[in-house]
Symmetry: C2
Subunit: 266 residues, 2 copies
Amino acid sequence: MLITSRENYIIKDYIKLAQNKKYRYETKRFVIEGARLVKDAVLSGVNIEAAFFKETAMQKHNELYNFLLEKKIKIYIINAILAEKLADTQTTQGIFCIAFMLDKEILLDRIDIDGVYLSLEGIQEPGNLGTMLRTADAFGFNGIILSEGCADIYSPKVLRAAMGAIFRLPFMFTDNLAETIKILNEKGMNSLAAVADSSANDILSERIQGGNIVAIGNEGNGLSQNVINSCSKKVTIRMRGHAESLNAAAAASVLMWELTKANNKV
Amino acid sequence: MLITSRENYIIKDYIKLAQNKKYRYETKRFVIEGARLVKDAVLSGVNIEAAFFKETAMQKHNELYNFLLEKKIKIYIINAILAEKLADTQTTQGIFCIAFMLDKEILLDRIDIDGVYLSLEGIQEPGNLGTMLRTADAFGFNGIILSEGCADIYSPKVLRAAMGAIFRLPFMFTDNLAETIKILNEKGMNSLAAVADSSANDILSERIQGGNIVAIGNEGNGLSQNVINSCSKKVTIRMRGHAESLNAAAAASVLMWELTKANNKV
């Protein structure tokens, strides 16, 4: 079916889902842009309400087009002007879909106390959040514990930076991260607060074993004192260069690597 | 001195420097935005041609204002409308300067063959490039070897993500990265090509010693075959999660960490 009008209800619906977090959660739907991400979503079990192909993209990504047809997904054809209107990227492939959120939320009592979890407090920059989720997925983390004040995992920019990690990782959402960490400590987990503080424990001298949570704080302010206090210990990345100068996603990469590298050998 | 017109020549000069790479290199100047970065530049020995303060920023960042006055730097006061016009960020502090490029270019024969260098091929995304430079600076890398096709280190977005690393790190620019690496190999350096290829050497099993270069490739395509062939060996980060799924800056963080962590203990 061909859509040419930007007043079409489903085009308006897409744009509202892309821009409006509240609407996403009210309708439990979100949008996905790009051939790779759309395919990844379908393969990860995400249900698709509708897909959109720019006319030229239909030929260029014929394989994906046929794959979606086989899955009996409703596909709309749109012109280049509408594709520009839906696009979050500057050079769009012209492939989009409206998807239903997966029910991947984990509750506190479902956290695997022998697993490895990334806990994020107030990560506001979508690119940083997406990069951290992508790295956690790559390193085989068991899940993510997200505080309030983080960017929305279903926003287009986070989805793009996370490269499909959203579809695979389990998430726990909490409005009291310190309390959540305390409860998990009592269950026997170890929790590490990442700080830029030379008096904290060097991550290299930690013996990593059993269930672990690593907590990373806001880009500008770091972790709140409350969350730091709730953790078993403070850890830091020692640097001989310029002090306190890793960005949150780079620090998270190094800490996640140190927590899982022994397991990452294949 | 107060400027209110956007037709003022120095305002136009600032905007041209912010937007136009060719003009930056012709005049050997660039622009810096933000209190922290401007201060960092002055402390790192960058010469400032002129600084700009939004009226309200003059009070809010009084210490920096006085610091620049003491350094006899010419300061222009601008109104909020002009500050918006100069800003590269959405919520600007209203502090800007025009600076002269440092002469930090290193030639091939000045590379310390016992040092550790990050070599980048075609890193196009300014945020990625800036993050890698910031991490290299934090981990005490001796310098950066940049191929053609990388984002400009003096562009506003790279400068912001690099958080002052540009002012401290030495850079070598090459239009033939493979040849440069070959020459450094012959001088006794070890060179590691980062690849997402499970047949490559696990970075964890490398014995890192002596002078090393780690080469990281373009976000989408990785390193060119030419550069891979010029390196002593291929290395990879083994992952048990989703395959090939680290972004370039996250992979670079882990590899730089592995190359320097023994030295980073203080």
